[in-house]
Symmetry: C2
Subunit: 418 residues, 2 copies
């Protein structure tokens, strides 16, 4: 069979499996998750053996450094996968919840309830833990899942999918509930993205390249997370010590994450007092600074920012710095250059705070806290499917709820429309 035929048959089977999953009890889903946790630990040797093959292959292809680390499993990473299963089992079931309901004047009882989406395809890159992570989130929300991981970790991914799939069937769940694309043919992803009759949602977990390539061809909806060009704005009325800590944390605590700050905006009134000390701390922390003329006048060792710097998602220890005359100018800069991800103001003035929260249009807006908190776990969602910067369906950190749809359930006793 060619790749297209294989993918289509896999998707059709997933669709069929999703019908059974729709009415699965929470108890069965949780039993499957617990069985998966046990199986991952018990069958560790198989997983390591498969991973060794992948690592060997990757080394032969010249892979090294962070990329090699990411795909190499350890006891700790395997324990984390099993823990993930326990954690997701412990979460409330996101389906079957009554989201709203009323009795209409004519006696119709109308409820809006959460239901599984149906079939998810998760397309990811080199980290094999996503195989388990994606499958358990999908299952918990009652969805069938098609996994498509990076080719360099294919043996590990196949082994993990087989182990958790067998754990699921051991409690009576159909074998097609969790499927993996075994082919490493590059066209598999675009075939998946063009089967809206079978697949309800594609969740890409990887870099910008992957997302753009999918968006170009997809007819299946994609949850799209644009990059994060996030800002910290230090207002005229900021407590400057707090501002320093928040800006430093937002930039350096996880610089490769999408919720890290890329640009620091400083109100002109506090810049002379704030910026030299702030710069000293950032530079000591290994951060390269790129400022506008006004910032560089205050901090001579700062590099020069050009127009591209305002739009850059560095994902590394570089920070653009700009002095602004007002909150309005800060908001205007954020509207023009931000990606509507996570935006923070530091201020003690309540009117400024509320104005920033109202005027900045982003998935998450902060007063006096680090942008790094934009995360499913930090937000108390118990899981993270990803962070959406689109406005429809789900915006910001996505928990299990983002993998559900809704259904109106209407109970009557012979009502007719008149």
């Amino acid at each position: 069979m060619d790749t297209q035929t294989t993918i289509e048959s896999l998707a059709r089977r997933a669709k069929t499996a999703s019908i059974e999953l729709r009415t699965l009890s929470s108890a069965t889903k949780n039993a499957a998750l617990e069985a998966m946790a046990r199986a991952i630990i018990e069958r560790k040797a198989e997983i390591f053996a498969a991973n060794a093959l992948d690592v060997e292959g990757a080394k032969q292809k010249g892979l090294e450094g962070a990329l090699l680390d990411r795909m190499t499993l350890s006891d700790k990473k395997i324990a984390a996968m099993a823990d993930g299963c326990h954690q997701v089992a412990a979460l409330p079931d996101p389906t079957g919840r009554v989201l709203s309901g009323e009795i209409r004047p004519n006696g119709l009882k109308i409820e809006k309830i959460s239901v599984p989406l149906g079939v998810l395809a998760v397309i990811y890159e080199s980290r094999p833990n996503v195989t388990v992570d994606a499958a358990i989130l999908a299952l918990k929300a009652g969805n069938a899942v098609i996994l498509r991981g990076g080719s360099e970790a294919i043996e590990t991914n196949k082994t993990l999918a087989r182990i958790i799939g067998e754990a699921a069937t051991s409690v009576g769940i159909g074998a097609d509930a969790i499927q993996i694309v075994e082919s490493t043919d590059r066209s598999a992803s675009s075939h998946l993205a063009q089967l809206p009759q079978y697949i309800d949602l594609i969740v890409p977990r990887g870099g910008e390249g992957l997302k753009k390539a999918l968006a170009k061809v997809a007819t299946v909806p994609i949850i799209f997370a644009a990059g994060g060009v996030c800002h910290v704005y230090v207002d005229e009325f900021a407590e400057l010590d707090m501002a320093q800590s928040i800006a430093f944390n937002s930039k350096t605590q996880g610089p490769s994450a999408c919720n890290a700050a890329e640009t620091l905006l400083v109100h002109r009134a506090v810049a002379p007092q704030f910026l030299p000390l702030m710069a000293q701390k950032l530079i000591a922390g290994g951060v390269e600074l790129r400022g506008d003329d006004a910032s560089r006048a205050l901090v001579p060792q700062m590099g020069e920012a050009n127009e591209e710097d305002w739009d850059a998602e560095y994902l590394s220890l570089i920070l653009a710095v700009k002095i602004v005359d007002s909150l309005e100018e800060a908001v205007e800069h954020i509207s023009t250059h931000g990606t509507a991800h996570s935006e923070a103001i530091v201020t003690q003035n309540v009117r400024r705070a509320e104005e920033f929260l109202a005027k900045v249009d982003a998935a998450a807006v902060y007063v006096n806290a680090s942008t790094r908190f934009s995360d499913g776990f930090e937000f108390g969602l118990g899981a993270e499917v990803g962070i959406s910067t689109q406005k429809l369906h789900s915006r910001g950190p996505m928990g299990l709820e983002s993998l559900t749809s809704t259904k109106y359930v209407v109970r009557g006793d012979g009502q007719l429309r008149g």
Copy 2:
């Protein structure tokens, strides 16, 4: 300017207008809606004059019957538009609602609030009342709107848009909050559909042709309402009088609506008792019946259904009829041939009812009520933006809530991620 340049400049202005709209108070929005209601009545003469031009042009092009009726305004239709403004003004503001919220262990106060989507484009066909209807729903939810109506009603639409636009500016709302595409160039819609940097959502209000044409070219998200191939399943344990009334109402009360039943499924055990009387009533009501062999054996005057009939959205007084052996077969038929719109079971057996509700995957599922109730007003939403059969963002009858997004608002006191 060519059409593309015109549309792009219009969309850019809408985006700018949407920033101001985001922080508009409910009081101002409602004042605008009330001013619109007054202006529509006071400036009736202008509206009739423009409509007369359109009607004259349409007659010259040979338009007649229902199409001509639909675009021809009357005192009653104008009063209905003004009433619509009052009704939407009276609805609760769908933005600024706290949808969830908690204080995290680290003291961060996290709220998820509803916010305007931003910019909507509403693309519709010949009925000029959509100009007002779409604009007021968009405004109530804090969105800028771009209206694109059918060319045959262009003068009426332009006049209506001008009148309600001026009413909005009279209370201080920017002129670009409500814009209409003045060009009747057919390419305008596809240009609108390809400006995701400015437009957040396209709402098509029209037939399948319009939706398919848009879906083909759109990079802006579209709320997609597939046709309604809806079913009434008369179970073995149905109260047959009720079943007869519900089937008759579902088919005949509004046969051109997407929530009208197109196929009647009857359990074999009750078919001999139920179907002949049912057929008599339907035929007396002017309904053409097309049945499978088993149905035709019971009702000889029934026509023959072929495979295409099971997938047909007649939107007229035709009904396909099929006898099934079990609830499972009914569910299977609905899964295969339905469009996941509105599906009903008639039964007195609670287990059968619950099984049907759980297993049928549709925007609305009914026990013992007419499928015709799938409607924003009937569901108590106070308005209807459309009926969505897609699973993401909004499913089923869409109220004002479907024109909003969400934003996480996080208030801290110096919290850092550790």
